[in-house]
């Protein structure tokens, strides 16, 4: 600090001074002091240089970044653009068959067994089967093709997660409310035995959220 005791008062005002945030009175006082005090004039110059440096430094860093996809990525997160449900299902199913054949078969078996107990609870629903949490999610049963063996139940939550529950139609009653035709070989009474029991339903196959990337 150069011996000038006035500096102590003015130094804290230099920062708001270069920001143009001083009252007119303070500004005049600061300017009068700056005219008389070389140190404070230098301090003000330092502050201006620093301020410019900060801007330049960050601009340089920002220039290195490619913002080409930025908006797109944000938009994808706020409005997950999704292909039609059917298309997504086809993709998911074909992926499952491609990459998880074994898991798929065993989960189908599980699903088939499960279906026997669960389906009667939901069989009277066409598009939004009961018991899948339709109050919290969009629930629908989808058939990829006419007479498809698989009519998965698709549960979509608001945050973009999708659960696809695959059941084997051969082993399960149809969703359209038509008569239940248990496949020969399956114990026909099983569903009756368990009917009415508070069964926990669990997805046979959970597909990771697809929202953003599809």
């Amino acid at each position: 600090m150069a011996g000038n005791p006035a500096c102590e008062r003015f130094v804290p005002l230099l920062s708001p001074y270069i920001d143009g945030e001083l009252s007119p009175t303070d500004r005049v006082n600061v300017e009068r002091h700056l005219g008389a005090c070389r140190d404070c004039a230098s301090r003000a110059a330092d502050l201006r240089a620093e301020s410019a440096l900060l801007r330049v430094g960050l601009e340089m860093a920002v220039d290195e970044v490619d913002f080409k996809d930025f908006t797109q990525r944000v938009m994808a997160r706020v409005t997950p653009e999704r292909p039609p449900l059917l298309e997504r299902l086809r993709i998911s199913l074909s992926e499952m068959f491609l990459y998880h054949r074994t898991a798929m078969v065993s989960s189908l078996a599980t699903a088939a067994a499960l279906a026997l107990v669960v389906i009667p609870m939901v069989m009277n629903q066409n598009d939004a089967p009961m018991g899948y949490g339709a109050d919290r999610m969009r629930v629908s049963a989808v058939r990829a093709t006419e007479g498809a063996k698989v009519a998965p139940v698709v549960l979509e939550s608001d945050d973009g997660n999708t659960i696809i529950w695959v059941v084997d139609q051969e082993a399960a009653p149809a969703h359209d409310g038509s008569e239940s035709r248990p496949k020969a070989g399956n114990p026909p009474d099983e569903s009756d035995e368990l009917d009415g029991e508070p069964l926990k339903k669990g997805p046979a196959k959970t597909v990771p959220p697809k929202g953003g990337e599809l």
Partner: protein, 205 residues
Amino acid sequence: MATDDLTLVKRVRGGDQRAFKLLVERYQRKVYAVALGMLKDKEDAMDVSQEAFVKVYKYLDHFKGDSSFYTWLYRITVNICIDVMRRKGASGGETEEFDESVANDLSEARIGALGSRLGTNPQKSALRRELAEKIQEALATVPEKHRAILLLREIEGMSYEDLSRTLDIPKGTVMSRLFHARAKVQKILSEYLELDEAKSGVGSE
């Protein structure tokens, strides 16, 4: 004339996705700059920037419109940055006692070093570039709340009034935090300058 923020916000509320896209494009660079200045890490800064816009979209109904859209956007950005720093346990800089150190700040290393060496002379752009690269390191030594103010002031050019509203602190606190943040950054930059001079021989200019 570009459509103003509040008009765009209204359109977004009415379901116009393109309006939100315009808002993102308008602020993406500045939001990223603030995040980068706060976090130093490029990837973190990018994640935070995206998160900030997603949050803004999600909570657009909570935006009252009694303050500017951008003060709200920056507040969200800064808060996410602070969350990230806390989570990583590396907030950097010192704690709040920083404010007590006025006396230290007044005994600057070298008065006028920065101003006289840089000035506005384009010939000195090499040095400016070199120092600009040190900016992020210098910023990292500033306590997070001071850093936020400094960044918002320099990047967005926010008035003290806006800063006070954005960060929910009195105007006097804005002024003193800015002062201390600048003193701190200046100290670091002067040290670089000295190192630089020592390397190239004093008075090499």
